[in-house]
């Protein structure tokens, strides 16, 4: 067993407090907050929900039928995310006078609107509906975040095409919002496809912005990295493979891919041999060693979440004790963060 060097510690048990002192704002409403998926017909809304949350293979979405009524998907995938995903079918234009739709009701309980643009189609035809939505929703609920997924990028041959489309959409949209005096509204653009990791990466970014504890979690991960010489760390929702926090080093889609593949491998192998036993127990842990010099560590920290980290060039014998101990501290600290959330919401109720 490697000796643990005290100065190397992540945080002493008495030092957990700083994390809990930060005021954490709870979601105002008692009703489950919503993320709304919108876009023209066949742009890929159902496919995204199915691939990410119901584990349908990308090829399998070819058989999906056009949605005819509003669909709700509960994502109770982890303790931090308690969302309802709402798909407004493309064939239902919510601004059409024949469609009975209470805009107030739709947008007031909504945290984010994800607007999906099919880039394999003429994307300009998707823009007018986007302006209408932004104008209407922003008036009702100025806190709503608008996320634009430029989707089906797998059909574009070259990376240059993707960037060109993104640039062109970005300019058109900002110019038109300016014309309608809505330049204060911030839109975020993502290039996505269900055939690669980009949809997971984009949804991760969307979801993270909605987590009030994000700064605390990021701090914790940064500190962990620093103390254990970790290159990249993620807090993952295992089921959806969305990460709800990562450290503040730049995004790296290749790293996301590696980590996500590790999760698949671990879950697939464990599932084969875990017959009968409780698949949800919080004890799952794993270490992958690649070429004797790169390491991936995974540890479940509660029923839904796992801490996954990547490091290179360290001696596993020396670091594994340190990692294990700090993972343990991280888990404790996370419980603290989480407890504050439940306490606050109880206080609200009283």
């Amino acid at each position: 067993m490697a000796e643990i060097n005290p100065p190397e510690l992540f945080i002493g048990s008495d030092a957990i407090q700083p994390f809990s002192q930060e005021p954490v704002s709870m979601a105002e409403q008692e009703a489950k907050p919503q993320i709304i998926l919108m876009g023209l017909r066949r742009c890929g809304k159902s496919s995204i929900a199915q691939v990410v949350f119901n584990k349908i293979t990308p090829n399998g979405t070819v058989l999906l039928e056009s949605t005819t009524k509003i669909e709700f998907t509960d994502i109770e995938t982890n303790t931090f995310l308690h969302y309802e995903l709402v798909e407004i079918p493309g064939q239902m234009d919510i601004f059409e006078s024949t469609v009975p739709m209470n805009h107030e009701g739709l947008f007031s309980n909504c945290d984010a609107v994800i607007y999906i643009i099919d880039c394999s189609d003429s994307y300009e035809s998707a823009l007018p509906y986007l302006y209408q939505i932004v104008t209407c929703a922003h008036k009702i609920n100025p806190k709503i975040r608008f996320e634009v997924f430029i989707h089906k990028t797998d059909v574009l041959r070259q990376d240059g095409d993707k960037l060109a489309i993104r640039r062109s959409i970005y300019y058109k949209v900002t110019r038109d919002l300016q014309d309608s005096c809505l330049e204060a509204v911030k839109l975020h653009f993502y290039l996505t496809s269900i055939y690669d990791y980009s949809i997971f990466e984009a949804l991760s970014s969307v979801v993270q912005k909605l987590i009030p504890e994000l700064p605390t979690l990021e701090n914790m991960l940064n500190l962990l990295n620093q103390k254990c010489r970790i290159e990249k760390s993620y807090l993952f929702d295992l089921h959806s493979k969305i990460y709800i926090a990562t450290d503040s080093t730049p995004l790296d889609i290749a790293m996301y891919a590696l980590v996500s593949d590790m999760i698949d491998t671990v879950l697939d192998l464990a599932n084969i041999y875990d017959s009968g036993s409780d698949a949800k127990d919080a004890n799952l842990s794993s270490t992958f060693e690649l070429n004797n010099k790169s390491f991936l560590f995974l540890k479940k920290v509660n029923q839904y979440l796992a801490l996954v980290v990547f490091m290179t060039g360290e001696d596993l014998q020396e670091t594994s004790g340190l990692i294990e101990y700090n993972f343990y501290l991280f888990k404790k600290a996370l419980e603290n963060v989480f407890e504050i959330r439940t306490r606050k919401s109880k206080e609200k109720l009283l």
Binding site: A254, A257, D261, M262, T265, I272, N283, S285, S286
Partner: protein, 315 residues
């Protein structure tokens, strides 16, 4: 020379021969095979296996004019000295009788020139058949093929490049080619007993095909071996994009009492140990693998020993 195994891969053009060999031996993922063009004449590949064994794979392009050449002018060159004939028939072929006629002409040549050769028939592209119909569609073809092979014996497997069935078929083919496989198996059994393991699997390291296994505890899933090959191979391929030149992998997974450990065993093999016995600690597994390493390296070399004794005296 004695360890060079000639393997014939034949079948109509488009049946999927090059696709499967590229996935098993050349690190393709299924998607990549869409870019493959038809094979011109015969493509040879030499695949080193377990250090001493070399698979000499003859991927014979299946367009009609090539086929005519194999059967007549090149007959001897193609069919002589073969250890295995793998004949691939696509499940969606419109004229099964056509495929079978080609198959029979191969059998005839083989019976003359390599009478000892094993014969394997793969029904490919099973993914194009609806799930519930697969078994029936396969067995119809299997019995027809068996009948048309008489008096020769043939083994048939359903395959698809999109799932693990490909690994099952190729594992069995490789298994039948590894010389002292019995020695590997008995060593593996002994190792599993000492470790109190539920099961121990031995992989060829480049392909992650399972070449031997020891099962000490019944498992309900009969398809797990090929699933595991598939899972680990996929990870290896994906990880190679991030870690250049990926040559060794070690995986440890612990969930309560369940411990799964994958590690390199010899330069050519990897081992996976599965243990649910709560009294066995993960560290003990690593230690035991360490100890077993020497033994298995010996086993691999044993195979070469006679060649060294009777080889070129000048060496």
């Amino acid at each position: 020379m004695g360890n060079k195994k000639k393997v014939l891969l034949m079948g109509k053009s488009g049946a999927g021969k090059t696709s499967m060999r590229s996935i098993i031996f050349a690190n393709y993922v299924a998607r990549d095979t869409r870019r493959l063009g038809p094979t011109m004449n015969v493509e040879h590949s030499y695949i080193r296996f377990l250090g001493t064994m070399v698979l000499n794979l003859w991927d014979c392009g299946g367009q009609p004019n090539y086929f005519d050449n194999y059967i007549t002018p090149q007959r001897e060159q193609i069919f002589k000295g073969a250890e295995v004939l793998i004949f691939v028939i696509s499940v969606e072929t419109k004229e099964l009788q056509d495929d079978l006629r080609l198959y029979q002409s191969c059998l005839e040549a083989l019976a003359h020139l390599s009478p000892e050769a094993k014969i394997v028939c793969l029904i490919s592209k099973m993914d194009l058949i609806a799930d519930e119909k697969r078994e029936q569609e396969f067995s119809v073809r299997e019995s027809e093929i068996k009948r048309r092979s008489l008096p020769l014996k043939v083994t048939c497997y359903p395959t698809s490049i999109w799932d693990e069935s490909l690994y099952k078929a190729w594992s069995s083919i490789i298994y039948s080619l590894v010389p002292n496989i019995a020695k590997f198996e008995s060593s593996l059994n002994m190792f599993a007993d000492i470790m109190r393991a539920d099961e121990v699997l031995l992989f060829e390291k480049a392909t992650y095909l399972i070449i031997a296994h020891s099962v000490r505890r019944k498992h309900p899933d009969g398809h797990r071996f090929e699933k595991i090959s598939n899972i680990i191979k996929q990870f290896k391929l994906n990880a190679s994009r991030y870690v250049a030149n990926l040559h060794t992998m070690r995986m440890e997974i612990i969930n309560g009492d369940l411990k799964i450990l994958l590690d390199m065993l010899t330069p050519n093999t990897a081992i996976m140990v599965v243990i649910t016995d709560p009294l066995v600690y993960p560290a003990a597994i690593s230690l035991n693998i360490q100890t077993a390493r020497k033994h298995f390296e010996m086993l691999e070399k044993l195979d070469r020993a006679p060649a060294m004794q009777f080889g070129d005296p000048k060496v």
